[in-house]
């Protein structure tokens, strides 16, 4: 059976599934339950400096969006970092780590952007026996207004500076958690690396308003008639997170920098996808806040079964394996031609493919009197919309055409050789030999 244990920055955990810094890791009681359920590690909810604890709102902290059957797809929150005394958290971290030495214990930190503040907190965290620290440069609400969280994460120079302070003042591995609320995720990752950070983790939550109360005319969650943007997370943000992970993984400046993947990880498959894009492990929050800690059992069994099926004996066998296939649009093979194909036995004749194609795309699906839907190859550009809107798994597939076959849409033969935009005659900057990209 595959070994799903992970070694991230020398921090070992029995599986690559950590709980992200968030309400589920705010206190000893929750974290013990998480470890009992089988989580490989936790990032303890962000600690602030010694002193009066932060306060939270006393109204709703979360907002959500749903799919069919009220399945939670996205969650946002306006909760701040831990609102419990620093010493209480430190005492509990130490106790839990002592009882679960095989699990990863990372402590998330957010203190003012002054070296003295970091110098003060690092030794007391180290004293707990924690395995590492994660610098919370991502939290987009509340703390950012006070010059912390994403206010730091949006300025690469600050990231570099704080990472360096931390590396100089602790033996613990330093993970920098990145905010997605920026234009180019590569810049803060590069800054973290320059500052000496051992890894980056991403994404933190995305600025968001999940709903508007149309009676009160206020964003939700609504606190006494007013709302503020919160941090968005959950399945809906996974595509955004994976793109940012991939950008860092394939950026020559940061290639090889360990990444802890965060953003909508809900199942073993999500985790495997993040890891294939270069993440040494993943962090989970919304999924456990929706379903409880038990889901880690499915994640472990699913990952292990998939690894067995693929012949991967350890997670290192597939971490980053998809990175070489992440490329720029200009390097995609324009001679690759596919056509949609509808499996008539699987088709239930709902006609959604027809509505989508006829109303919004290429008029490439025909509908007969008796509701038989067929792809017209001479119109199909293989856009995949029909596949995406079909409610039946694998009913519509994209079938590649073979070189030498004639594409009925263009009347031209499918070339056998690779060709991309870099040599395309319509490209004003075309070159004679195609380049393959990085």
């Amino acid at each position: 059976m595959a070994d799903i244990s992970a070694n991230f920055l020398g921090i070992k955990s029995p599986n690559p599934f950590w709980l992200a810094s968030a309400p589920p890791t705010d206190k000893e009681y929750n974290v013990r339950r998480a470890f009992e359920a089988g989580w490989g590690g936790v990032v303890w909810k962000t600690l602030g400096s010694e002193g009066p604890p932060v306060v939270n709102v006393n109204g709703p902290r979360y907002g959500a969006i749903y799919g069919a059957d009220r399945r939670l797809l996205g969650l946002n929150n306006i909760e701040l970092i831990t609102d419990r005394p620093l010493q209480t958290n430190l005492r509990e971290i130490k106790a839990v780590k002592r009882d679960y030495p095989d699990r990863a214990m990372i402590v998330s930190l957010m203190v003012p952007c002054e070296e003295a503040a970091w110098k003060a907190i690092l030794p007391v965290v180290e004293e707990t026996g924690a395995d590492g620290i994660e610098l919370n440069f991502g939290c987009p609400h509340g703390m950012a207004e006070r010059g912390m969280g994403s206010a730091v994460g949006q300025v690469p120079e600050y990231i570099e500076m704080v990472a360096r302070w931390c590396k100089q003042n602790t033996r613990m591995p330093v993970i920098v958690k990145l905010t997605p609320n920026i234009t180019d995720i590569r810049r803060p990752a590069e800054a973290a690396k320059r500052g000496g950070a051992d890894a980056v983790s991403l994404i933190n939550t995305i600025n968001s308003i999940t709903s508007v109360n149309l009676d009160a005319m206020s964003p939700e969650p609504m606190i006494d008639g007013k709302g503020t943007h919160g941090g968005y997370c959950g399945p809906a943000v996974k595509p955004i997170a994976m793109n940012m992970v991939a950008e860092i993984a394939r950026n020559p400046e940061t290639a090889g920098l360990p990444i802890s993947g965060i953003g909508g990880v809900t199942t073993w498959r999500d985790a495997a996808e993040f890891m294939a894009l270069g993440c040494g492990n993943v962090q989970v929050c919304t999924a456990v806040m929706t379903y409880g800690f038990k889901i880690v059992q499915e994640m472990c069994s699913g990952l292990s079964a998939w690894m067995d099926e693929k012949g991967y004996s350890s997670v290192d066998d597939f971490v980053g394996k998809a990175v070489p296939n992440v490329t720029d649009w200009q390097y995609l093979n324009l001679n690759y031609i596919a056509k949609a194909k509808i499996d008539q036995d699987a088709c239930i004749s709902c006609g959604r493919c027809y509505a989508a194609c006829e109303d919004t795309s290429h008029q490439a699906i025909s509908m007969s009197e008796d509701r038989v839907f067929e792809v017209m190859d001479d119109e199909c550009v293989a856009c995949n919309l029909c596949v995406d809107v079909c409610p039946i798994e694998n009913c519509i597939t994209m079938e590649p055409m073979q070189p030498g076959q004639t594409d009925p849409r263009t009347g031209e033969k499918v070339p056998s050789e690779y060709s991309n935009w870099t040599t395309h005659p319509n490209n004003p900057s075309a070159v004679s030999e195609p380049t393959l990209g990085g």
Partner: protein
């Protein structure tokens, strides 16, 4: 509870008060909002949806379900009512399993259709419970139309005519409007006086004057109507019943299932309705099932539906047959009654087995007897007396187009007319379409 299920003869009060209450409650209780949300989420919003095609009134089903999904059930109800003003009753009595739900793509995919009927009820109940009537009349045209028969077809026709600004006199032979909705369907399909409430709600449109106790041949004639009104619509249903050809059917204890059902529908207290210990129902349609199931619910010990052909030939749908079976009704196939035995009162019914040959159905000669103290005949209804100037076809009023009869300015629809199944929803569609045609003809 003076009697029990074992008490011989036709007796009332066979069950406890609680049992009657339980037995005659709503067959499909209305959805709670959460249930409706879950059910609505299953709809795929099909293109040119098969459910809509299957609906005789062409309700835009994906649209009304989407309106439920998005928290606007009253808008959903308007979508329904704009096509089918009796959408509330149809939600209760439509054989959805052979119409919209049969062709639902999720029936194809999973064997579990979207529960369209119950969603329709959810939406229509919401709007009707609010007391609001969503339609108003166009400017009054000064035209007068007589609608004969206040059943589904007549009500639908009258409402649509009134919407177009015509004044309607709506006549019915019975003492109250509603037709089969009020007198003909199983009690557990429409509880709490819904049929009467629906009529009241429908009449809120105004411009419709209900005149009960009047029918063709009973104070009304085609001649007089066509003179007094600009147009006439006949929605007179099937007032007669087929005669059972078997020896001894004149004995006490033998009656028509439609009368039995009608009595039940109007009863305030089910414990007052007498029913046999051993009930035999002859027939294979919805009426046979409604009568048999309700006999069982009234406390009969043994209820048998005897049908002369095989189950697959029965007019009652598979769902109805299962409903009968789950109520404890035995369905006997390929058996035709030949003689009713008993000394003045039915005691036994003698049947002969049948088989279908190339020459059609014939008796095998083998006979058997079933004990019976009540025999209900449900072998089909027929058109009652009709004015001789109206052309008939196959025992129904011949119509062309949207219900035009052989007589100028006279339309017909519903069960009394040719075309379509004898269903509430079909009657509603035909009444509505005739109204549109009448409107065109009056204003054209």
């Amino acid at each position: 509870m003076p009697n029990s299920q074992m008490t011989p003869g036709i007796q009332s009060g066979r069950l406890s008060a609680e049992a009657y209450q339980e037995n005659f409650s709503d067959l499909h209780p209305p959805y709670e909002p959460h249930e409706a949300a879950v059910a609505a989420d299953r709809c795929y919003f099909c293109y040119d949806a098969p459910c809509t095609t299957a609906c005789p009134t062409d309700i835009d089903i994906p649209m009304f379900i989407r309106q439920i999904q998005t928290g606007t059930p009253e808008e959903a109800a308007k979508t329904i009512f704009s096509q089918n003003i009796l959408g509330g009753m149809c939600a209760r009595v439509c054989p959805t399993e052979t119409l919209c739900e049969e062709v639902c793509v999720r029936e194809v995919a999973e064997g579990k259709p979207v529960e369209i009927g119950r969603l329709q009820r959810y939406a229509t109940d919401k709007l009707m419970d609010s007391g609001k009537h969503p339609f108003s009349r166009a400017t009054v045209t000064g035209k007068k139309v007589a609608v004969i028969g206040a059943g589904p077809a007549g009500l639908s026709c009258a409402h649509r005519l009134s919407m177009h600004g015509h004044d309607v006199d709506l006549f019915d032979a019975r003492s109250k409007a509603g037709g089969l909705n009020e007198f003909g369907i199983a009690t557990y399909k429409s509880v709490d006086g819904f049929a009467a409430r629906e009529v009241d709600w429908l009449l809120q449109i105004g411009g419709i004057s209900v005149k009960t106790g009047k029918a063709l041949g009973k104070g009304l004639s085609i001649d007089q109507l066509t003179t007094a009104y600009d147009a006439v619509f006949l929605g007179i249903g099937l007032a007669g019943v087929n005669a059972l050809r078997a020896e001894g059917v004149d004995k006490d204890g033998v009656s028509d299932a439609v009368d039995f059902i009608s009595t039940l529908r109007q009863a305030e207290d089910m414990s007052t309705i007498p029913v046999g210990r051993n009930v035999v129902v002859i027939g294979g349609g919805m009426t046979a099932v409604d009568a048999a199931v309700q006999s069982k619910l009234l406390g009969s010990e043994n209820v048998t539906i005897a049908y002369r052909r095989g189950r697959d030939q029965m007019g009652a749908s598979g769902f109805e047959q299962d409903l009968a079976a789950s109520a404890g009704v035995r369905i006997l196939e390929n058996a035709q009654p030949v003689k009713v035995h008993g000394n003045g009162t039915v005691q036994e019914v003698e049947f002969e087995y049948t088989e279908t040959t190339s020459d059609g159905l014939r008796g095998t000669g083998e006979t058997f007897r079933l004990p019976a103290d009540q025999l209900l005949k449900a072998i089909g209804q027929t058109l009652g007396e009709t004015p001789e100037e109206i052309t008939l076809e196959g025992g129904k009023i011949a119509v062309t187009g949207a219900g035009r009869t052989s007589v100028k300015n006279v339309w017909a629809g519903g069960d009394c007319a040719t075309g379509g199944d004898d269903l509430t929803v079909t009657g509603v569609a035909e009444g509505r379409d005739a109204a549109e045609d009448i409107h065109q003809s009056l204003m054209g």
